[in-house]
């Protein structure tokens, strides 16, 4: 049986990276001198698994390297060696080294570099020069074959101990195995058998004398008894030496067969028939592809749905490319299997089902047979049938190994890189071939591990949903007014089921934030050494869960912020002492849930932000007017301006060209916000607020004229009725509303969005006070409708981003409602200050431009006519 090992690589890499993360965090927590044995065990186990996997899947260099690490760890584990700081450093370096090696494996780059070798030598030296047995590469052959020609007649005395059967071993199995080596005669000795009434069925009372005539070596015979060598008395004597040294007890070969012989092809494929017939048809490949799809759709209209997102020309190109790839690789089954496997994964994304493969296969054979005409023989047909069914099998095997959960699959399903010109399918097929090559996902992995508990929960809930549905169905069959109460109950139940189901589905994507936090201990440790600072990193709330996608995207901004705190926040020990603070600074990362959000705080007890310098810089850049007075809050907020860095010198640590503006933008793209507060000499605090998930939000439905918009509930502070005396018009243009002690700009949504409102009179509608990016504004709407959770749909998929709108959703009645981007809207309102009609006039202008353009066109047409 051929098992394509490459299908397990991705899992191996994923779990190895996880293992390395575990090793790293345990190592960082390890107390030198007084190591927690459980932690050492965990580290050892991770290394052990990586080694085992690497050896099994043929990544010998990784296995070899890990073996040295493991050996050292084993000595610590068994107490032979104390935990010393230099060892911990070595292990941390090894973790980095292994990460690099695994990345190299992933990208198929050379794994064994000089760095690796150097570190390995250092580790071996640490082992005290003692010889480290290198791992046997690939597979260890226990079955050594007889090469010294000592085959022949053997006499074996096999006397199992009474306890042999207690380990699940069975003398019968051993005899059976022995008999497979050659001609065997076994004589049973029942002398120890007690009388029936005294027999203990768990005890072995029997002995055997065995004559074996075999070409196998003594080692092979002994190996049969390997597992029971301690549970029996065994004598193996050669009773006659045979001279036939060239024996042929088929040695089990574990080498991968790369190139199958054309005469005796691998997998039993009739490659010659396949190749000849393909050559015959190749000149007509285009026609073949075309007719294939015609026939397919004609015969099986149900599959047409699968191709709805793609053009048939492209598909034809893909089909030809796929066939060519298959034919090119048909003599390299390993490679072919990889290719086909990858293809299968993509097909799964397109929604192809098991049954479809048979339809496709049948159609392809039919079309080929038709086109080949008299050249089509039953032999060829047989060959193709076999090949296609093998391909389908491999492709289908790709299905089971992927968890079709992550929503990024949806985007995968779209044909990417589609060539616009249908006349050039070679472009498409080219790309197609390239992307069919087995690729180990790099960076963000598309899969997610889900505990079986969560899945079971889901299944239960679906069960309930089905029950509710059938209950409602029955109710509907003969409905009358007396059942209205029941119907209401049923609907309430349905609502509950749906909500629970939705929550559980969302729950699947939730991961503890420790995944994002775990890189920081190491980072801070490295940084403090580099900067000569002393820093304690505190982590709390690591179990707080958030959406996988949000997690992946928040990683980099967090790194930036932590780096910033360490580099610019915490002072050097001497400075700290002078300021009356402990030498050791503290950076605290905290995560917690608040409302529908997750809040991540990064606090430090450093010097705090330098208000004067920020203001100075802002003035010199013209961001702030020379005599403009700002609140502290506004000043600190300036650090999020593009191109704003107050670090006197660009340091190696923070000065990486990415500013706080990028951090802020990234966070905003996630629908979140960031605030900063600081106190000179006491420290700074960054507070990031993120939605728990990107897919769903709690929305307030508002109405302006005939339009319904959705405002994210999290950004609404309050809604109020406007009192005229609180409205202040500045220069008769911008309007401010006095909300307690604060003035907030009023934004008339009908004006910004250019729709007809019920009324332009502020007292007739409502003011929704929102906050975005730390700024408040009052959004004037006609009415508040209900609140509901909405599923966010992207406008960009088929259209594009619109300023002030973050997306759309589908309401209960099937119509589309737009979701306001509060941050963007607030910005619009700020810009409107003094120039209230700006956004509208901008639209007018773009309209005018377009009208002019179109006028030119029709002018030209008129002239020509």
């Amino acid at each position: 049986m051929t098992v394509d090992m490459s299908q397990f690589y991705q899992t191996f890499l994923e779990e190895s990276f996880e293992g390395l993360d575990t090793m790293e965090s345990c190592l960082l927590n390890l107390d030198v001198g007084d190591a927690d044995i459980e932690a050492v065990n965990t580290i050892f186990r991770a290394a052990h698994s990586i080694k085992g996997g690497a050896a099994t899947f043929g990544f010998d260099e990784v296995a070899e390297f890990t073996h040295v690490v493991e050996t050292l760890l084993d000595q610590i584990r068994s107490g032979e060696r104390p935990v010393e700081q230099n060892l911990v450093d070595y292990f941390l370096q090894s973790v980095d080294c292994l990460r690099t090696m695994l990345h190299a494996v992933q990208s198929e780059a050379p794994v064994m570099t000089d760095d690796v070798r150097a570190l390995m030598q250092a580790l071996e030296a640490a082992l005290g020069g003692e010889h480290v047995a290198t791992v046997e590469s690939s597979t260890s052959d226990a079955q050594t074959t007889n090469s010294d020609g000592s085959g022949g007649q053997w006499s074996i005395q096999f006397s199992p101990h009474a306890t042999l059967m207690k380990t699940g071993n069975d003398p019968v199995r051993i005899l059976r195995e022995l008999s497979s080596l050659g001609d065997m005669t076994a004589m049973l000795d029942v002398t120890s058998l007690p009388v029936l009434s005294e027999i203990d069925p768990e005890v072995c009372y029997l002995k055997w004398t065995i004559d074996l005539n075999t070409d196998a070596a003594e080692a092979d015979i002994a190996e049969v008894f390997e597992w029971v060598s301690d549970d029996c008395d065994l004598q193996i004597n050669s009773s006659m030496v045979q001279q036939s040294s060239e024996q042929s007890t088929a040695p089990v070969s574990h080498e991968k067969k790369i190139t199958p012989d054309a005469e005796a092809p691998e997998n039993g494929l009739d490659i010659v028939s396949l190749e000849t017939s393909f050559k015959l048809l190749q000149p007509q490949a285009n026609e073949l592809a075309k007719r294939f799809y015609e026939t397919l759709f004609l015969r099986y209209p149900q599959v047409k749905e699968l191709f709805k997102n793609t053009s048939i020309e492209q598909q034809q190109g893909k089909l030809i490319a796929a066939l060519q790839t298959v034919m090119q690789q048909i003599r390299e089954p390993e490679k072919l299997a990889d290719t086909v496997f990858a293809l299968g994964q993509r097909h799964q994304n397109y929604g192809a089902e098991k049954d479809h493969y048979a339809l496709v296969g049948e159609t392809l054979i039919y079309v080929m047979a038709d086109m080949a005409g008299e050249h089509w023989t039953s032999k060829i047909e047989q060959a193709w049938r076999q090949a296609l069914s093998m391909i389908a099998e491999i492709m289908l095997s790709a299905y089971s190994t992927k968890t079709p959960v992550a929503s990024d699959k949806v985007t995968d399903a779209k044909p990417s890189g589609a060539a616009p010109a249908p006349a050039k399918p070679s472009v498409t097929s080219d790309k197609n071939t390239a992307s069919t090559a087995p690729k180990m996902a790099s960076g963000e992995s598309g899969s997610i591990r889900v505990s079986t508990d969560k899945i079971d929960g889901l299944i239960n809930m679906v069960g309930e949903l089905v029950i509710t549905q059938s209950m409602l169905g029955q109710l509907g069959e003969d409905m009358d007014m007396s059942k209205i109460e029941k119907l209401r109950d049923g609907l309430a139940q349905l609502e509950r089921n749906t909500r629970e189901l939705q929550e559980s589905v969302m729950q699947i994507r939730m991961l503890p934030i420790s995944f994002a936090f775990q890189r920081f201990p190491r980072m801070v440790r490295d940084l403090q050494t580099k900067l000569g600072k002393q820093i304690e990193l505190k982590l709390s709330g690591e179990q707080t869960e958030l959406d996988k996608t949000v997690m992946e995207k928040i990683g980099d901004p967090l790194v930036h912020l932590v780096r910033n705190s360490v580099d610019h926040g915490i002072e050097l020990p001497a400075e700290r002492v002078k300021a009356g603070k402990p030498e050791k600074g503290v950076v605290h990362l905290d995560a917690y849930h608040q409302g529908g959000n997750i809040v991540i705080e990064i606090n430090d007890d450093g010097a705090g932000l330098n208000k004067e310098r920020i203001l100075e810089k802002a003035r010199s850049q013209g961001v702030v007017g020379a005599d403009e007075e700002l609140t502290d809050e506004r000043i600190y907020d300036l650090i999020f301006q593009p191109g704003f860095s107050t670090a006197a010198e660009v340091s190696d640590v923070s000065g990486r060209g990415v500013g706080m503006d990028v951090v802020k933008r990234n966070i905003r793209e996630l629908g979140g916000s960031i605030e900063v507060s600081s106190q000179p000499g006491v420290g700074s605090s960054f507070k990031i607020r993120l939605p728990l998930t990107l897919a769903i939000l709690d929305g307030q439905l508002v109405r302006v004229g005939n339009e319904t918009y959705i405002i994210p509930l999290v950004s609404i502070i309050e809604s109020l009725q406007v009192k005229n005396e609180n409205v202040n018009a500045i220069a008769g243009q911008a309007e401010l509303y006095k909300l307690r002690e604060e003035y907030i700009p009023i934004m008339r949504l009908y004006e910004v969005f250019d729709v007809d409102p019920d009324s332009e009179d502020l007292t007739k509608g409502l003011l929704v006070v929102v906050e975005g990016d730390g700024q408040r504004a009052g959004v004037f709407v006609d009415d508040l409708l209900g609140q509901q959770q909405v599923v966010i749909k992207s406008l960009e998929t088929n259209f594009k981003r619109i300023e002030g709108i973050s997306g759309a959703t589908i309401l209960g009645d099937g119509t589309v409602a737009l979701i306001l981007d509060v941050g963007g809207i607030v910005k619009v309102s700020q810009n409107t200050k003094g120039r209230p009609k700006r956004s509208k006039s901008a639209v007018d202008k773009s309209k005018k431009d377009l009208d002019e353009k179109l006028l030119e066109i029709s002018d030209g047409a008129n002239k020509a006519a």
């Binding site: 191996f12 698994s49 690939s138 380990t167 069975d170 768990e202 390997e226 597992w227």
Partner: protein
């Protein structure tokens, strides 16, 4: 077809073992550690247990002892998956009641050959 319980904390090894065994027609139950395996073994009789030694929660040795203490697993073949460096692990597993061992790394073919040997 015989039912095999495959126990390993490494997902890739588990996948490989399960894929290989399923491909050969065996029913496979998977478990990620000893505790989970014990639970699975109690829930439904299996014909052979294939277990890693080094695992969190309950390791392979403890699992073997627990299994052997169950009346319906007294004689069920249990094979350990050990690395060549852990020769003492073979013995440890054996004395805990393991039937035999398969040395890591192994190929799918070696795995199947050993399983066939045991199950007949």
């Amino acid at each position: 077809m015989a039912k095999i319980l495959a126990v390993d904390d490494s997902a890739s090894m588990r996948q490989m073992v399960a894929f290989t065994l399923k491909g050969a027609g065996y029913d496979v139950v998977e478990a990620t550690d000893g505790a989970e395996a014990l639970e699975a073994a109690k829930n439904g009789q299996v014909d052979l247990v294939l277990t890693d030694i080094n695992m969190p929660n309950m390791d392979g040795i403890a699992l073997i002892k627990e299994l052997r203490a169950l009346p319906n697993y007294k004689f069920t073949p249990i094979l350990t998956l050990t690395t060549e460096s852990g020769s003492d692990k073979k013995i440890e597993g054996k004395s805990a009641g393991a039937t035999g061992w398969i040395v890591k790394p192994f190929s799918p073919d070696q795995l199947l050959a050993t399983i066939k040997k045991v199950l007949g």
